[in-house]
Amino acid sequence: MKEFGGACVLLDRSDINTDEIIPAKYLTENSKLALKPYILEDLKLNGFNPKTSLEGARVIVTRQNFGCGSSREHAVWVFEVNNINVVIAESFARIFRQNTFNCGMLAIELPKEDIEAIFAIEAKEIKVDLKGQEITALGNGKHRAAFTLNPFDQELVMAGGWLPYADQKY
């Protein structure tokens, strides 16, 4: 199982799509690592610069429907190869959420109030307690929020992803 939590970056917009996360022109790469420089390249957001804003980040916090669009798992790998393995949002697009758990990473859904609170304190760091299913956001203050993981998704995270899980079980 992976280690979760650390410095976070806040992306203050809903419906951030897979083409913004990793443009299709990079889908010709045949390795995950090759995607690394192109993370969020086409995301236009005030104050966000994909080349500098993500330095040291381990966690992304965002709004609704994150990862909508294409089925490309490249949109998860590009975070993975940049050492980001937790995305916290009000909601996710189905395929992105499944791809994240399939890679043994975390897609945590929180109620709108908690997301608002994390943005309000301008969180710089997120601690993730997977066992206790709670996150703690630290910034201009502190915000704790409980989350619920579907038991199957939790098993995928523990197993290190869907392939090892399925290989053993089916």
Binding site: Q64, S71, E73, R94, Q98, N99, N150, F152, W162, L163
Partner: protein, 426 residues
Amino acid sequence: MGKTITEKIFAAHLRDTPSAGNAILDIDVVMCHEITTPIAINDLMERGMDRVFNADRIKAVIDHVTPAKDSKTALQGKIIREWAHRHKIKDFFDIGANGVCHAIFPEKGFIRPGNTVIMGDSHTCTHGAFGAFSAGIGTTDLEVGILKGVCSFRTPETIKITINGTLPDGVFAKDIILSIIKRLTVKGATDKIMEFSGPVVDKMDMAARMTMCNMAIEAGATCGVCLPDMVTVDFLWPFIKDDYASREEAAADFKKWHSDPDADYAEELTFEVSSLSPQVTYGYKPDEVKDIAEMSGTAVDQVYIGSCTNGRIEDLRVAASILKGRKIAAGVRGIVSPATPKTYSMALEEGLIKIFMEAGFCVTNPTCGACLGMSNGVLAEGEVCASTTNRNFNGRMGKGGMVHLMSPLSAAAAAIKGVINDPREL
């Protein structure tokens, strides 16, 4: 309590229930293309797991960038080609026989009512048009699908969408689905099935049903689905004629998949289309939709007719119907990509290719190319495209480009005038 079509398909394919609300399904058809499959193949090889669960139930195609445009895409083609040969996957479509996956696989009769289908491509929801459960998945799901023939899904709820009225001239399935996405928004159907029914759907041919189901993902849906009927039977008849004594018998058998009258829906929506106008997107999200009159006069640099949404022969006929005897406007680049070799051949025989060429269109080979800005019609910064495709995301057809989604008729009309306009006035 009755069941929806999707609940019936889930029940018939249920392998395991790892926790409440999660289902592991046996998969009937695993479809593969050269963009999302090669990394799966490489990973399986590295893990010493280069096997396939059933070569006959895997279908593969090179469609996104074909012919290869550079060394990287050539390598992607090589990886999937060698894998298909190594595992004796007989339904592998390479250059000369290849077409856009969601057009060529239905054309070959691979998808049947009641099937479960997965592919590493979000527009896999297209095949719900046949009364199947068909969903786009990522590469890890694809790997497990290839290896084990199973896939995990949350048990989905269904939104029933009844489409009433009579579709006016000049208005098509594309306009209906754009208006539905506008109402549902890009996340309104997340984790849900969009079940299309009603008199308008009953009258639709399979091409129109595929256009509707194709864009279900743009509202976040797992799959779009239509109930299989005589239209489905007629389309599939060449492939199923040995299985049934008559078409009526096939249609009666397909009814076993129909949603029960007392099935439970998460939501029931009704759309009246008798006064619907041609629709067009205006922003960077597919739910940003307006009546075409409101966008009239918007200049376009390129017009693209093709893709898994609207690249079928029915779409080409509609576009050609107003291009006949006309020229596209000076300064506009017209590109048409027939979605499959069969579509291309039919368009040749019917004289459509001549109409497109005389109007000034470039006719490409069957490929996804321009739709996602990979080849054959990438936009430059600041350029605008009237397109029959499915996504208008920022940068989708090329960095800094703007895409307006519309029907093939509206796209052809934009080509003729050089600006977006109501095609019914031409």
